[in-house]
Point group: C2
Chain length 742, copies 2
């Protein structure tokens, strides 16, 4: 059970208790109100009607401060693998050289304050020996960071692993995972996220930051009984928190809201849209005050160019979209296959070893290639940028023309120099490396996001295509396709734009976002002019990827783990009826029901002992089978326990009354037990002829946990969310037993 939650190995109960010990502070059950058990589904309609007092909610931007700190810590630790700042060891490479006086644009990489390890230890900055020493220390640091990360996760907060988005989707759809959003998870995930990103593994911090933000939101909820007692209200706050999470992760406030809407949230009333918007505003505002990207622009990968694009370029853009779709498909299939292998074989028993091994391989392969050695965000940033006249990157080693003083946007056509060809090779190797290693990295027992690695794959591919098109346009101005839009001497192709489009396509292929993807991309880059290329790539990528399988990476992981998640996007198109899905089936024993005035306390206790249903329908009598309500197992247990303890005269033979008035009984009879107050008088019903399509729709939109089936007013059976999910799995030729939870 817990295995699904990427904790693996130990037996479910052990793990759960272990986790519970540490993390059960937040969600203490209230003995008087009925709450839900762990790994159970909530009933939205019930929560909604339980919510009596309503106030305007405010949301705090605590997550932002955290995100700012994370950003700074990651920068410092990533650079720590290579060297240290002599003037102040807590400075990252960039900060170190900022403060250095001699910083001009050209020699920023070689400021004297910053020393690589080899130089510091041996005094030699160059040479094979120094290189090997640096290489060795790089690997050592990486292993240390990742070992710390995985150990902390193992010991203190098993829920802190992974990106957390599949679980948050499931929680938001109305599922209880106690402690998943607890303060231990928050603390440990924050610390290990920094370690994991710094270790150089091919993972990002965006997904985990959504989890961290949701933990903050949950903590916030626990301060107000209105939210902590109502699972529906709590989920509204969590949706807003998820929006704030993306806002701070990317500095994309609107993109965050849309991501929360399109990808994460399940139950998203417009009121939540508005709240998310406000949360995102606070987040953006706080971020702007902290200013972690060092510019006042709130934009992570700001692009400087505003050169127009041409219609003919749509062809490579759409090809990049196709690539993105294929990458998405390949990644999802391979990653799911690998994760399934991890779950089912011995592999899953050694999570620490696995992390160490992958970190080792990553470090060994990454160091020699300058494009993989640096942090992935830096790589993407460089790939997105156009080559200005002053750019010192190898990617910009064009055979320059004399007038270097022209503004950045306006460099005419450029033949590539040897550096560019060299960079192309290195980029191609980096592409293959990133593709392969990301498949094995995502899903390990450390915090790991997917946005940045996906974007990196796309950006590399895009930049390669971009340079290819650029050089083709330069060398073949006379080709018919270039003739119209690319005159000699004009700067007609911007390779950075191709990187941007490629990144969007790959991210889209993996996550299947559409609107939020494009908004995030232009909030990330400021490239509002490129909305059509970005949209075209996103659409193509989604089409191609959807052709191979409807599910994005998060849904695939949800399915792999067997969470009871009813995807709002799946169309249920089969012609089955409620009667085909409801229980009891034809040869099953009859439905376990209570009658309104003939069941005894003993009968009820037997029923509770013999079955594990979450609740029981109450009927007028077994003959008429007229439904009057539904009673929760938990409420029933509590009520009987209370009555036995506190109410005199309630014995096993007492009759349980669900009617409004219990009849006056002779004194010889045992005192009756009146339980109408725990009876839900408005259970949801459908008729046995209702098409399953409608039933699925009702479950989805109303967030039901169960639904009773009647015919001509007679109770026939019950359909639970799990039955619906099982039926859907069956209809899609999947194993219905993969749905594990209640």
């Amino acid at each position: 059970m817990i295995e699904a939650l990427c904790v693996s190995s130990a037996t479910p109960t052990e793990e759960m208790n272990g986790a519970g010990n540490l993390m059960d502070f937040l969600d203490e059950p209230f003995p008087d109100v009925s709450t839900y058990e762990d790994f159970h589904t909530i009933d939205w309609l019930r929560e909604k009607s339980r919510d009596t007092d309503r106030h305007r909610k405010t949301f705090d931007g605590k997550a932002c401060t955290l995100a700012g700190v994370i950003d700074l810590a990651v920068d410092w630790m990533t650079d720590l693998k290579e060297g240290v700042c002599l003037s102040a060891f807590w400075y990252s490479h960039e900060q170190c050289c900022w403060t250095s006086n001699e910083t001009t644009f050209d020699d920023r990489d070689k400021c004297p304050q910053w020393q690589k390890w080899a130089e510091l230890m041996t005094g030699h900055a160059e040479g094979a020996g120094a290189y090997v020493l640096n290489y060795f220390l790089y690997i050592l640091w990486a292993l240390l960071f990742s070992f710390l990360a995985v150990s902390l996760v193992r010991v203190f907060a098993p829920y802190a692993c992974g990106s957390g988005i599949p679980e948050i989707k499931t929680i938001l759809s109305g599922f209880i995972i106690r402690g998943y959003l607890g303060k231990w998870t928050l603390l440990i995930k924050t610390v290990t996220l920094v370690l994991a990103v710094s270790s150089g593994l091919s993972l990002g911090k965006e997904g985990p930051l959504v989890h961290v933000a949701c933990c903050c939101g949950n903590l916030f909820c626990s301060l107000f009984s209105k939210y902590s007692k109502n699972e529906g209200k709590r989920r509204e706050v969590l949706s807003a928190a998820a929006a704030a999470g993306v806002s701070v992760a990317f500095g994309a406030p609107i993109g965050g809201v849309l991501f929360s809407l399109e990808e994460v949230s399940y139950y998203f009333p417009l009121k939540t849209l508005w709240r998310s918007f406000f949360a995102a505003l606070v987040a953006a505002f706080t971020l702007r005050s902290i200013n972690p990207f060092g510019n006042s622009r709130l934009v992570l990968f700001y692009v400087e160019y505003h050169t127009p694009w041409y219609m003919a370029e749509l062809v490579p853009f759409i090809l990049l979209g196709v690539f993105g779709g294929l990458w998405g498909t390949l990644f999802i299939r391979a990653n799911i296959a690998w994760c399934r292998r991890r779950k089912t074989t011995q592999l899953g028993k050694y999570p620490v070893l696995e992390v160490i091994a992958v970190t080792g391989i990553t470090a060994v392969l990454a160091y020699p290639n300058p494009y993989t050695r640096r942090s992935t965000s830096e790589l993407i940033s460089e790939l997105f940028n156009d080559c200005g006249a002053l750019e010192s990157s190898q990617l910009c080693d064009y055979i320059n023309n004399p007038n270097m003083s022209r503004p950045v946007d306006d460099i005419p056509d450029r033949p590539a120099g040897p550096g560019v060809y060299n960079a192309l090779w290195q980029l191609a190797l980096a592409l293959i490396f990133k593709i392969v290693i990301t498949i094995f990295t995502f899903g390990m027992k450390i915090p790991s996001g997917l946005f940045i690695p996906s974007m990196a794959v796309g950006a590399i591919a895009g930049r390669i295509v971009g340079i290819a098109v650029e050089q083709m346009a330069y060398h073949h101005h006379d080709w018919i396709i270039f003739k119209n839009w690319c005159r000699p001497g004009a700067d007609c192709v911007t390779p950075g734009l191709y990187a941007m489009v490629g990144a969007a396509a790959c991210l889209g292929g993996v996550t299947r976002m559409t609107v939020s993807l494009v908004v995030i991309m232009f909030e990330l880059t400021g490239g509002l002019e490129y909305i059509v290329p970005l949209m075209a790539a996103a659409v193509t990528s989604k089409w191609v990827a959807d052709a191979f399988g409807k599910e994005g990476i998060y849904e695939s992981h949800i399915q792999l783990n067997g969470y009871p998640y009813l995807d709002v996007r799946d169309e249920f198109t089969h012609r089955t009826l409620a009667t085909d899905v409801m229980r009891p089936r034809r040869n099953d024993p009859p439905l376990a029901v209570l009658t309104q005035d003939t069941t005894t306390v003993e009968d009820v206790e037997t029923l509770i002992k013999d079955t594990d249903y979450n609740g029981f329908p109450v009927v007028v009598s077994r003959e008429s089978e007229r439904l009057i309500g539904f009673v929760q197992r938990r409420d029933l247990t509590l009520a009987i326990k209370n009555a036995r303890q506190k109410q005199d005269g309630v014995v096993s033979s007492s009759v349980v009354y669900f009617t409004e008035d219990a009849p006056q009984l002779p004194a010889s009879n045992p005192q009756p037990l009146k339980l109408r107050r725990i009876l839900n008088l408005s259970p949801f019903t459908v008729t046995d002829h209702t098409p399953m399509e409608t039933v699925v729709d009702i479950f989805r939109k109303l967030g039901l946990r169960q639904c009773l089936v009647t015919r001509s007013g007679r109770l026939l059976g019950i359909i639970t969310k799990k039955d619906v999910l099982r039926h859907m799995a069956q209809m899609m030729n999947q194993d219905p037993e993969s749905i594990m939870f209640n």
Copy 2:
């Protein structure tokens, strides 16, 4: 009834038939399938389950071509009021002077090809006589255009008036207004929109363009029986069309999708989001190919500046938000009061006269002020722009410093010249004029949008505030609030940004958009850096406006017209139960029901004659009151009519059977009529104890038309959408009889 649809005066039936004659091509009822009657509500669940074949839908961008043509026509006709192009009379002022050879930036306003009417007719370009003649002709053209517009609307397509968004919201929420999206409406609205905008009235073309796009979408639906026969599917296409409409109106593809999601659509599954996204992409692509704004940027009010803003500036931004909220409240209240007056008094009987009068007043007052004489889009564009060194506008009459060659972004602090002070006065007058005239213009019997006038009000106010802050900062560098961020010699305040923020605030106050507003604003202007100011203004404006009344202008008009629109945003928080709302009430006659095997054809016919219910529940017997299904009135009428005509032996005394098998009757009895096939076996039921809050939620989310109420399996009553709306109106202390339709 029709009066509500801004047609007024004539009696409902007359008008409806009149409209019907012209516009009933699209929605011919299919005699075999049951469709809905005009001014009736559809049943979403039923439509959903009726949709048997599903294919991927594509969407065309026809609306764009139309929008491009509209743009060009409006430009030409607006300029026609002032003068004509000698070289080619079909050129607008701008086009005329583009082609002229002598065009340099400075004297573009005075190119010889373009002649004002006075110059053309008398040979004098200057002087009081010429001014009066121009003034007179300006008014004449305006009156001509508006008279043509209102006459065309009156005669050919009464539905073409107004912005159309309230009606489209209602249609999308599941209401039938036949002909509202017909081809006549499309044609006439397109033509009269051009006339109305050109006449100089204070109205925009954005809202009507959404209506036009929806007409296109509806025409597209009528080509495929899948969409034309299913009202649910049709609405999905219409949602996508609305997105495409905003995309072309503003050149804001993402903003269009979000507008469709946040403001227009009712039933918005994620699949629709994705389709809208695609529709918007096609629209953006087509628009980019047509390029009506004359730049390749797809941006209507592109701003050139990228100067940063400062934290202290949030104070004026928030003040602008407050202004926007107040303006929204004032506008909505005044406009609704005026429209109610129009509906209830003699005023509504003279729509042509009203339009002529308002046009006359507008033209007389607008001409003398240069800021109101020009088209509102041009005004907004000028107000948004920062003063570059080359700007010739009066607003930019700063006492310039010598170095004129510095780039646009980087002009240091500027003392205002006399032109600026002059402009401030004119702007203040324009502001008052716009505020007053827009209240009387919106809701007249011509196509009229609200986006542009609202933005204009905000932009004027914002620019005034911006200049005030700028001059304050210049003259009082030493004030504590300016000291930190506004050094002498630095260009620290950008008045254009204030105009942008003001426009967003005012638009937000009127429409109550949030996310879509901000996205539209930055797609309109390209000012991605200003996301926090825009968000802050939008949030403040919504708060302030919501404090005075929850409804935006579109919801207010829906309420004024009594459409059956169940707003997804209204929270229903009262503690009433289904039993309080259902009919029959306590003293009413019992519910009209059919029994499954004892009703005769005559009984049914009597029932149909005596009542006007849309359908009847079918029960096992009147004694048991066990519900077995629900039958539509229309289906029943058709079935009996068919049987009487075609089926021998069906007479008045024939028994109607809703059971699976009719019993074998002796030959002497009349032949039975089996009607199980028209029986809906899965009617929606709730118990009488269900809280109305849950019932409202169910109606909203599932788009129900009616819902049956049971207790212990017995049928008690029925709740229709109209009952729900009436109950909600009652709970909000409004007149429940304002809900007019079924």
